[in-house]
């Protein structure tokens, strides 16, 4: 993608309409992942003058819309960087929301000629990509990091600084809930396979599917309440909780040896599977450090592997036993 910054001012509004809501829904569901872009450039919100604040964001529709909709009733310039349609935090990590891109945008939009002051307000979460010192040296503009969340901007602008709370990355229920649909899309082929399996072997296929969906949707919701610190461990606990109703249903009131073997195999296969799904949420949490995730992978992947392999052997043994007639 070539970055084509508009050299003219682009007008925008704070109120979002139907079109934006449709775009957000699609983005949340993971459709057309690279397509939620805003044209990079300098936008005018309301009617800013030469003293108005300049707020910087990414050209991902959700980032841009979160920013402008937080600024209802205010006049400001919005400088949209070409992050190739990627949100602020991820783009900062990749370096596309970075010092160089910011300098390029300042130049391309003739920002220095349009405002009297030399202050830029950046989202706090863009800081991993931007060196305030280098921006100052390269453009004369002073970078100020605003709050983590756009919704805190009005208060920040009114009091002129961030409270401790605004500086902290949070992971509220709403933030966690939006993860499930996108994750579900990542596992769509697996889910389709399970659906096929459900036709052939109704009970097990259905169980695997319900557990997978349960893992994807319940895990983020229950995250703070599940015991343990590692996401994998929390996921395995959830897996065990989810398998149990099925196991009770199978073994209640009485169970023969084949059923017992089947139930043990279910636990051995499905508990690590939900643990693995949970481990893959690390990238979406604002807490996981690389060191921590590495440690978690080295601790839990072997455990999960051993459990799944034993579960697979046990299922094969049970199936052979039933077919061979010696169980």
């Amino acid at each position: 993608m070539s970055s084509d910054y508009a050299s003219d001012l682009l007008p925008t509004v704070a109120r979002l309409g139907k079109e934006e809501r449709r775009d957000h829904a699609k983005a949340r569901l993971g459709f057309d992942r690279m397509g939620h872009r805003v044209r990079p450039g300098l936008y005018t919100l309301g009617s800013p003058n030469r003293e108005s604040k300049v707020l910087v964001t990414a050209n991902y529709t959700l980032s841009f819309d979160a920013l402008r909709s937080a600024l209802v009733g205010r006049d400001a310039f919005l400088l949209v960087l070409d992050t190739q349609g990627i949100n602020v935090w991820c783009a900062a990590g990749k370096g596309t929301f970075g010092t160089d891109e910011l300098l390029k945008a300042i130049e391309a939009t003739l920002l220095a000629e349009r405002v009297e002051h030399r202050d830029l307000i950046l989202p706090q979460l863009s800081a991993p990509g931007v060196s305030a010192k280098a921006v100052k040296e390269g453009s004369g503009f002073t970078v100020k990091y605003g709050p983590v969340r756009a919704e805190d901007l009005p208060e920040y602008l009114d009091i002129g600084e961030c409270t401790e709370d605004m500086r902290r990355a949070r992971f509220d229920l709403r933030d966690r809930m939006v993860l499930a649909p996108v994750e579900m899309r990542n596992y769509r082929w697996g889910l389709i396979l399970m659906l096929l399996a459900a036709v052939l072997i109704p009970f097990y296929g259905l169980m695997a599917m319900i557990l997978t969906l349960g893992g994807l949707f319940l895990f983020p919701v229950l995250l703070p309440y599940l015991p343990g610190k590692a996401l994998s461990f929390k996921g395995m606990v959830l897996g065990a909780l989810l398998v149990t109703p099925f196991a009770l249903f199978q073994t209640f009131p009485t169970a023969d040896l084949v059923t017992v073997i089947a139930v043990v195999a279910e636990y051995l296969l499905l508990v690590p599977w939900i643990g693995y799904l949970a481990l893959n949420f690390t990238g979406s949490t604002p807490f996981a450090s690389r060191t921590g995730v590495k440690k978690e992978i080295f601790t839990y992947i072997p455990i999960m592997a051993i459990m799944s392999v034993s579960g697979a052997f046990l299922s094969a043994f049970g199936a052979l036993g039933v077919v061979g007639g010696w169980l």
């Binding site: 983005a27 993971g30 992942r33 690279m34 991902y60 990627i86 949100n87 991820c90 900062a92 990590g93 990749k94 706090q124 979460l125 800081a127 991993p128 990509g129 931007v130 060196s131 305030a132 010192k133 100020k144 990091y145 983590v148 961030c162 401790e164 500086r167 902290r168 990355a169 996108v182 481990l279 893959n280 690390t282 990238g283 604002p286 807490f287 996981a288 450090s289 690389r290 060191t291 921590g292 995730v293 590495k294 978690e296 992978i297």
Partner: protein
């Protein structure tokens, strides 16, 4: 007391929690940048230099290192994403990168 302060400055031990974050208090010029950028409140204001108080909460995002004008903070920043690491390991790549259509 002043001399002790100066001596202190040279001998301040570097502080290192369990992750890759390293703080060299002796270099800190108390500009407050790390206090602004850290999303996990790892640093707290101090009289003449900031103090590292929540090192274990660091998510290794690298924001403080990138914005510290005195090179007082070092951190091996990277992607804390299991999927990305597993993919990198399976493909035999050393560097962990987010995929094209992951990470939104």
């Amino acid at each position: 007391m002043m001399e002790i302060g100066v001596l202190d400055l040279e001998q301040l031990p570097t502080i290192k929690p369990i992750n890759t974050l390293v703080f060299h208090p002796g270099r800190c010029v108390n500009c407050g940048m790390c206090l602004q950028v850290c999303p996990h409140r790892v640093f707290t204001p101090g009289e003449r230099r900031v103090r590292m108080v929540n090192g274990a909460d660091c998510m290794e995002c690298g924001a403080c290192q990138k914005n510290c004008p005195a090179n007082a903070i070092e951190v091996d920043s990277g992607v804390g994403c299991a999927s990305a690491m597993i993919i990198a390991a399976l493909k035999g790549r050393d560097e962990v990168k987010c995929g094209e259509d992951c990470c939104r």
